[in-house]
């Protein structure tokens, strides 16, 4: 199977500081790839390289076999949707206005909304359970509802890949699971950065572990969440809890062993 996204020798630095160091990995159709690592590991920078917000990197990023730097903004927007951390608008916009923006990569200037567009918006509203909130002001929504609105916009974008940057940030436990269950139910190819290792374990099919810009591990969830490896990266001893039926349930970091607050340079 050909990879959908292929990262080859990707490096990026700001002045003399190396943020990403010779990364090599691939993404395949249908995967939910979680990118984990401490603050300053380079997770968000990696996503910004993929979506071409950072362009002065070294190495190659191929999307569907083509160098992504040669593809137009519009083409990228038709194939990769991004849910960034929520940025509150200064002016009032209602939920449906935000979701409608997902049509933009396909729309010529002056073109009106077609019945197919309306159908796509209504389906996205239904899938994200936002139909009753469609005329509400975006800033009046809860964090979880705002994330769902941006996911609905991504659905209207009808892309092959969905990229989420810290989708569970600032959300309570209920909304964290609600958002990630929604993402999982969409059957899309997903890349997301995520801080909570237990959520990463529950919802991702594969993980990349980054530390100081380096790829430390790439593989199945249980392989990457290996205690000695995590201890090396996060600087804290940890222990996986295994349930009576032998399933991995929770990673517990032993904060009492905290000696050296490191890696906090994000």
């Amino acid at each position: 199977m050909h990879p959908l996204l292929e990262i080859k020798d990707l490096s990026w630095s700001i002045e003399t500081k190396n943020i990403l160091k010779k990364l090599n990995w691939s993404l395949y159709q249908g995967e939910i790839l979680g990118i984990i690592g401490p603050n300053g590991a380079g997770k968000t920078s990696l996503l910004r390289c993929i979506i071409q917000h950072i362009t002065n990197y070294q190495g190659t990023i191929n999307f569907a076999g083509k160098n992504i730097s040669t593809l137009s903004r519009q083409y990228i927007a038709q194939h990769i949707a991004v849910v960034n951390q929520v940025n509150e608008p200064v002016f009032k916009l209602c939920v449906i206005d935000v979701i409608r923006m997902g049509l933009l990569p396909y729309k010529a200037l002056f073109s009106a909304e077609t019945s197919a567009d309306t159908l796509a918006i209504n389906q996205a509203l239904e899938k994200t359970d936002l139909t009753s909130l469609k005329n509400e002001e975006f800033t009046h929504l809860s964090g979880g509802e705002q994330q769902r609105t941006l996911i609905a916009r991504a659905l209207v974008q009808k892309t092959d890949v969905l990229i989420l940057d810290e989708p569970t940030n600032h959300l309570d436990v209920y909304y964290q699971h609600q958002i990630l269950q929604l993402v999982k139910s969409l059957n899309l190819t997903v890349i997301m950065t995520i801080h909570d290792l237990n959520l990463a374990h529950d919802y991702c099919s594969r993980l990349l572990l980054l530390d100081k810009g380096k790829l430390i591990a790439d593989g199945a969830v249980n392989e990457v969440l290996e205690p000695s490896q995590l201890r090396g990266v996060f600087g804290l001893p940890c222990q996986p809890f295994i349930s009576s039926d032998g399933k991995f349930t929770k990673i517990h970091f032993q904060a009492s062993c905290l000696t050296n607050p490191q890696n906090d340079n994000d």
Binding site: R73, N87, V90, C94, M101, L104, L109
Partner: protein
């Protein structure tokens, strides 16, 4: 829930308001012309030559230019606010009036013979000069906040140059420039109306074409960029449109402060902030507002015409504060 009146109904309502405002404003003026005489002169030929001249060469151009100038300034303000995500953005913040003021100063001192042509032309060129400087700076500044600050710096710089020229120049020229900077519709004619209308229609067509792209900027530049939008190009295009629109208006009407800042905020209060509704609402309400401001300028004090910019600032600031206080109360 956002108030979202039906677009077609809103347009019909605003159109009716505009027609009523234009018609009513034509009845105000020094010459004693009854309403029936006025409409007879507008629809058929006038029997009275003086009435014919007053209506067709003085009142109608003045009211129509007032409408398109108000519409243009309000539109430019609305677009600058939405594209820079800054509720305080206003065409004047980008140094356009200071540039126009410098042009007017140079014309008033250097071309006293043909001032009626030289002053608007120099003001237009001055406005273009200032906006070109902001453009040049914007190439190195991607952030909209930096762009606004660059505009403010250019504005102060050009004002200082104007003030220096006026300080060392003829006191009569100083008077002319100061009066011009306060804004007036006293010298306009139908050719000014057609020119401003042309630029306004062209600007509206471009803005309507990109209205959803402008909306997408509301969630941040990177968010808009992930939707395939070239944010820098879009912002520069909108800045160029606002500059052309404001420079044309300022060249003929002088400095009319506060319309570009205030009207979009009033419109947001009733129509929400999506660019399409905001632009339509700002055009009609801005146009009507300036027509009535001009009526007050002409009729508030007998035998004296007040500069229009003074009235826009007085009415605008009071109205603005009332709207803001209402907003604060409704937000709890």
């Amino acid at each position: 829930m956002i108030k979202s009146p039906n677009l077609l109904n809103s347009i019909l309502l605003l159109l009716s308001l505009s027609i009523v405002s234009i018609s009513a404003a034509l009845t105000f003026g020094a010459a004693d012309i009854s309403t029936s005489q006025l409409f007879t002169c507008l629809i058929n030929d006038c029997n009275n030559v003086i009435n014919q001249t007053v209506i067709w060469q003085i009142r109608l151009p003045r009211v129509l230019v007032g409408f398109v100038a108000g519409a243009g300034l309000a539109c430019a303000g609305a677009i600058l606010q939405n594209t820079t995500r800054n509720p305080l953005a206003d065409p004047y913040l980008f140094g356009i009036v200071s540039g126009a003021g410098l042009g007017a100063t140079i014309a008033s001192i250097g071309f006293t013979e043909q001032l009626s042509i030289a002053l608007p032309l120099a003001a237009f060129l001055g406005a273009l000069f200032s906006i070109s400087l902001v453009f040049l700076l914007s190439v190195t500044m991607n952030k909209s906040e930096q762009l606004l600050l660059a505009g403010v710096a250019i504005s102060f710089m050009l004002s200082a140059v104007s003030q220096f020229i006026l300080f060392t120049g003829d006191p009569l020229a100083t008077n002319r420039v100061l009066f011009w900077l306060m804004g007036s519709l006293a010298r306009v004619d139908m050719s000014n109306f057609y020119l401003i209308l042309g630029v306004l229609i062209f600007s509206l067509v471009i803005i309507i074409a990109y209205h959803q792209h402008i909306d997408a900027l509301a969630l941040g530049d990177e968010n808009a960029s992930t939707l395939g939008i070239n944010v820098t190009k879009l912002r520069l295009l909108m800045l160029a449109i606002c500059a052309a629109l404001t420079a044309t208006i300022v060249a003929y009407c002088g400095g009319i402060a506060f319309v570009g800042l205030m009207i979009p905020h009033i419109v947001r209060h009733f129509f929400g902030s999506s660019t399409l509704k905001l632009i339509i609402g700002s055009s009609f309400i801005g146009g009507c507002f300036l027509i009535w401001v001009d009526v007050i300028a002409r009729s508030a004090i007998t035998d004296l015409e007040l500069p229009i910019g003074i009235i826009t600032s007085i009415i605008g600031s009071v109205f603005f504060l009332i709207i803001m206080m209402q907003g604060t109360r409704s937000n709890g």
